[in-house]
Amino acid sequence: VTPSDAELVARVRQSGDPNAFGELVRRYQSPVRGFLRQMTRGDESQADDLAQETFIRAWRRLHSFRAEGRFSTWLFGIATNEFRQRLRRDRRRLDRESQTTDLESEPSLAAGAPGLRLDVHEALMGLSLAERAAVVLCCQHGLTHEEAAQALEAPLGTVKTNILRGKEKLRRWLQL
């Protein structure tokens, strides 16, 4: 019988069982690394570095996990915080993000270019960080709006707005 997330968490809390935690890492490494790859604009090395920090922090803070929520939502929250901290530390990267967070500011990718169809990945990279995080969490990782708001530490209304705006932009850029 496959143990549930709650059972694995309980085993780690009780006896510090690294194998139980390893099973949790195996289960969630793909969504966490996938999310962070989207947030770092496909920088796999940086995303994996952040993902590793995310799981280490989860290991340290497992006592603060509340079982009423999903373990994945809690993990995405830690991953988002790790990403934010990395952005703050790397001011140059932040500047680069702020310069290119909106595709409409780039003439080559503006809606006027006839026949241009963007790849989904490219289009996602064009969203603002807040829009991208909300769209990726809800549309790719299956979080509810409430769970995304919890993970992103943002008001529910803001998350809904970011998803709506993000999807509108994606439809326009992908010519759907």
Partner: protein, 114 residues
């Protein structure tokens, strides 16, 4: 304004594209690297806030009980320092170290909690 109407078909297609663009990330040794990098889960780590609070309370009680003597010593130290008595200044080093440890403990606790 969006030029295209918000057809359900378009919404479905977008969600399909988004879901399709998100493939599983192969583990490729990631889990093993995380497990190797995990710090030991010391039992004292979880008790740190309790130990810290108890030590702080203990210190506060001692200071409250001996406040008059401590004020006298401080006054002596300041007056001796004015005369260039380095021995008295050296006696303050443990106090400074203690205060430094207290500040460091508070900062590290705050960082850990975040």
């Amino acid at each position: 304004m969006n030029e295209k109407p918000d057809f359900p078909e378009a919404r479905d297609l977008l969600e399909l594209l988004l879901a399709d663009a998100h493939g599983p990330v192969p583990d490729a040794g990631f889990t093993a690297r995380v497990i190797v990098a995990l710090p030991p889960r010391g039992t004292l780590l979880g008790l740190r806030p309790v130990l810290f609070a108890a030590a702080w309370l203990g210190g506060a009680v001692i200071v409250a009980l001996h406040s008059h003597e401590l004020l006298g010593v401080t006054a002596d130290v300041l007056s001796q320092a004015g005369r260039g008595n380095s021995a008295m200044l050296l006696a303050c080093v443990p106090v400074a170290v203690g205060l430094g440890s207290l500040v460091w403990g508070l900062i590290s606790l705050a960082c850990e909690e975040h």
